[in-house]
Amino acid sequence: MIATGKAPFTGAFSMSSALTGRLGPWATAIGLALLTLIPVGVVASAMLHPDQAIWDHLWKFVLPELLVNTVWLALGVSMGVTVIGTGMAWLTAACEFPGRRFFSWALLLPLALPAYVTAFVWIGLLDFTGVLPTWLRETWGIMGLPPIRSRGGVILVMVLALYPYVYLTARTAFQGQGRRLLEAAQTLGISRRRAFFKVALPMARPGIVAGLTLALMETLADFGTVAVFNYNTFTTAIYKAWFSMFSLPAASQLATILIFFVLALVLIEQFSRTSRSYATSARGGGGARRLRLTGVHAVIATGCAGLVFLLAFAVPMLQLLAWTRNVIATDLDARYLDFAWYSLLLAGFGAALVVSLALALGYAQRLRPTPPMQFTARLATIGYALPGAVLAVGFYIPVAGLDNLLIDAWREGTGQEIGQIFGGTLAVMLLAYCARFLAVGFGPVETGLARITRTVDEAAQVLGSTGLKRLATIHLPMLRGPLLTAAALAFVDIMKELPITLMTRPFGWDTLATRVFEMTSEGEWERAAMPAVAICLVGLLPVIFLVKHSDART
């Protein structure tokens, strides 16, 4: 376990030179897979000492409910984010309607709000004691609002929090399709509406699926949001077994089942599309001319986008701002500059590393497009579906083990005491982020690479451009949009990340996200509003940057 603990480092550092070699792609992919598989293996190894009594109990009283709950949640969220994400992406990428410019970036903003904070705000507004039902009850005597703390409620809130993943990846896909494709369809006598369903949508499928996969993995790994709703899923059972019943083996059994479930889903999706090609050479055709919506259509478009923006961002944000106003005088101090700075630093470096490794993995897969390689790439991105705290502990155990080995060896050799070597360093923290968020970077990168035709590679080859040179001069410019997408997603996700940040941060490295944690874990939601708003403000930077740059192309 300890010896292999170093593998990810080797894999990462030797990547640049290894990429061009014959074994390079495999070394890269395996190294990155180990980065995730070692933590997963550490957790899974606890199964070797099964805790029969607890497992029997879970099987009988806990699993039936949570399986049903988890399946419903996964289905509901998948459908919701696909419809809203794709719909909004098509509207802002291919149509013209009042407010399009604003919505094209504003619809990304919910990404910057931690989902559990949004959940708490909505419960505060819509539960029996909330603002709206209280007003309806006391002013109008209306009682019959559907309960927000329900399966429908948790699905709704998670859809509102997670649709931006699909929105972002689908939008990139629609923008990359170019004009010629749709024009070709139209010359064949297909109406624009049918062209959307017959051409644009199928061609965007990898992008949509990439976003959907992220949203689904995040749903399965989520603990905070379902906890606010007291809605029991796999994750809540894992936490219960581990932290309430103190049974790591039972938790590990549950986590392993979850991982296999996710792997199965990913593989099914993969097999269902291996025979198709999604490459497009239409870049030369430029972006599609926008379909100008008028009259009722324009009103509906603006109304829909406005409603999504309102529910997913504006309302929660206004509530957070109102709470912030109550506490800003007592809570805001100079330390917030540090919090914001550390958040920015970690998210910036983390995102750069995640995107670089994702690019390496995507490239390895492109150079060796075989099923085993594709499977390895899937394994490398599985960390995103694991509950954060489980991954954090799984990552920390081998790091601490390595430290112990070194510290003990040093003590024996020199008789001196030294402190931790890897534990509490930024390098470990950033690598742990990669283990968790590689999927976030890989999704967009993989989709982007798939859109570049092989003929481009062949042409480059003929011109003597191979290996890394080809990547730098030919592919990177073509991957600009996907890379920006990947970076923005990773940046915002790391800004919000908690379990890894809490476990691996050096002393004093408190971030905006850990501020939110300090307040919410004692139930002080109003005081958590200010750091949450700050996350949003800092998280806005890459979102705006992203949209400005991706829009410039069309």
Binding site: F13, M15, S16, I54, F61, V62, I123, D127, F128, T129, T134, R149, V228, N230, N232, T236, K240, W242, F243, S244, M245, F246, S247, F349, A352, L353, S356, L357, L359, A389, V393, Y396, I397, G401, D403, N404, E417, G419, Q420, G423, G424, T425, L426, A427, L430, L468, A472, L502, M503, R505, P506, F507, D510, T514, E518, M519, S521, E522, G523, E524
Partner: protein
């Protein structure tokens, strides 16, 4: 090529370990930053000793202590709830401390029988009711909330919160598993609505008339009433008229223990002793409207205004030993 090289180089540059001086005290704390930092600042000011700390949830912190083993930088582990403290002792993460000062400052039912951890503040889990809808004399005990007369009148926080697990664990020590299961089943049958994610939400539901009574930690009540003093809510101290040792309000602790592999035992014990002392106890408890663990120290005026109560004197460590069983019991009766 630069794209992926530069961050790695920077990361390498930042691969420097953290510096901990020999006489610094390092604390791993599941008690939140805003509650402990004022204390550590005061300690540094008084003694010149630096206190370094990280906060996290108790589960990951214990996993971390375990993984770091004998080379852990931590000297003191601090957490809320006796169940967690018991678990830390069970996992051999803590070390017995023999200190006359701690023995004198902390009553024996609020510390580990083996002196591996010490309660530093007391949290009472009591009943809060709607003063417009509950008549005097209607409320008596926790157990009575299972009585059908409370049907549709009870709100509870989720069973996933350790406070409720400890409460049920303590009832198990008193009544045994079977009777406790009947009681908790009765609670579930009386619920007006699904359990709430936190105490405050449960109290707001009581205030709004969705239900009439709930079980909460007093500091949540204090915090809520500070913000909305006009809510029709009041505290009731249950189980006061019983004659057994187990009678009394369910209390729990937040506390701390010295880590088994501390490099600075003397410094850690000194900080622990200081935290139990009269001058620190008010700062420790008042910041969160809790009760000081040291009986010589008087609670905050807001807290004393809620009246005196007789606490349950069974050692709080019992709650930890029975926690897993309590969780299973609550699962069985469908308390979510």
């Amino acid at each position: 090529m630069k794209v992926w090289k530069s961050p790695l180089i920077v990361a390498l540059l930042l691969l420097s370990g953290q510096s901990v001086q020999a006489d610094d005290v390092v604390v791993y704390s599941a008690r939140n930053e805003q509650l402990i930092k004022p204390l550590f600042d005061a300690y540094t000011k008084e003694t010149g000793v630096q206190v370094k700390f990280v906060t996290d949830k108790e589960g990951p912190l214990m996993a971390r202590l375990k993984a770091e083993g004998k080379n852990t930088p931590a000297d003191l582990f601090m957490t809320v709830d006796a169940g967690n403290l018991w678990q830390a002792a069970q996992e051999q993460l803590l070390k017995p401390v023999n200190s006359k000062l701690l023995d004198a400052n902390i009553p024996s039912h609020l510390r580990d029988p083996g002196n591996e951890w010490f309660g530093l503040s007391v949290r009472a889990r009591t009943l809060v009711y709607n003063s417009n809808r509950v008549k005097a004399g209607e409320l008596t005990t926790y157990e009575d909330l299972a009585n059908p007369k409370w049907k549709g009148r009870l709100c509870l926080r989720t069973a996933k919160k350790v406070y409720n697990q400890s409460l049920v664990g303590m009832m198990m020590t008193e009544h045994g598993e079977e009777k406790t299961e009947q009681i908790v089943k009765g609670w579930v049958a009386n619920l007006a609505t699904d359990p709430f994610p936190d105490d405050t939400k449960a109290m707001e539901a009581v205030a709004a008339g969705l239900c009439d009574v709930t079980v909460v930690n007093t500091y949540y009540f204090g915090r809520l009433m500070e913000k909305k003093p006009n809510l029709p809510l009041a505290i009731f101290w249950p189980n006061q008229n019983l004659k057994t040792k187990a009678a009394g309000v369910h209390v729990n602790v937040s506390g701390a223990g010295v880590t088994r592999h501390t490099r600075n035992e003397a410094g850690a014990v000194k900080l622990l002793e200081w935290l139990s002392s009269e001058k620190a106890q008010n700062l420790y408890a008042d910041v969160n409207l809790e009760y000081p663990a040291n009986p010589k120290v008087k609670a905050d005026a807001t807290v004393t205004a809620w009246g005196n109560f007789k606490p349950n004197l069974i050692n709080v460590a019992q709650a930890g030993a029975l926690q897993a069983k309590a969780v299973m019991l609550m699962d069985r009766v469908g308390y979510k």
